[in-house]
Amino acid sequence: MKAAITMDRWNVIEEIFQSALERPLSERSAYVAQACGDDAELRCEVDSLLASAGNATTTLDQLVAGDLRAMVRSADASEIGLRVGPYRLVRELDAGGMGVVYLAVRSDDQYFQFVAVKMIRRGRESLERFNASVPNGRFLRLWVILTSASFWTAVRRRTAARSS
């Protein structure tokens, strides 16, 4: 995009882009041509976005997954290395008054999965509470705050089971 795009222009592009994707593939091209009229630049804009729509999810997925892998590979094992259940804490992401957030990885025969784990100081009540055996006993609660969708589902299932 050459200059900063105006909101009006962006809204028009979005409208045509979304409407085009809601139509069958065979009708898209004709629809875009009709919707853009003789605005060649608009048509070029919409067409190039439609062309990029197909594999965008895969590209972004692979990019971020590749970054995570590279980071875990290069992490200094002595930096954290603590095991909490099936997870190994890889590095500290953030720290605050309530506790510390770590990036953790589960890597065994069945899973290769990244999670962010928040270790909360003893006594803190939380719905996502698990018992964790932590060697030094400083933190007794493990709070999984961010993770793949599958883990999130598991957390919710536990919560639902407790409430019913």
Binding site: L60, A70, L146, R156
Partner: protein, 126 residues
């Protein structure tokens, strides 16, 4: 019904926390990618052979390009940029993103669709 309300409330309370966490994850990954890039460049100094590969390696990893593109997208469509951040750096589902951003699942789908296409195109132009 009560259970559904409860689940919704929990998600709303946690929404901000998750959003912050996704952003933290993004920053951590980008810092790391930047560090890797610097190290690569440092190591590359010893190599004087000018082949096509050297130029390819000197280019920014795509993750940094993605970060730039995400920030650029945020300048004119912040909601798309955030939805994408929550999805890829927060590992959230469409439903969860909808709860955090306060929009319908269908709207999340549309936001992601155009946002991702724009990013993909933007990155391929670099």
């Amino acid at each position: 019904m009560r259970l559904a309300d409860q689940a919704k409330l929990q998600c709303e309370n946690r929404g901000h926390f998750y959003a912050v966490s996704a952003n933290v994850m993004r920053r951590v990954l980008i810092d790391h990618a930047r560090k890797r890039k610097t190290e690569k460049r440092g190591a590359g100094v010893r190599i004087t052979l000018k082949t096509g590969m050297d130029f390819a390696e000197a280019r920014a990893p795509d993750s940094l390009v993605l970060d730039d593109a995400l920030s650029k997208l945020a300048e004119f469509d912040a909601r798309k940029s955030r939805a994408i951040e929550l999805k890829f750096y927060g590992g959230m589902t469409t439903e969860e993103i909808g709860l955090v951003l306060g929009i319908s699942v269908a709207t999340v789908g549309r936001e992601l669709r155009l946002g991702q296409a724009w990013l993909q195109r933007e990155m391929s132009r670099r």
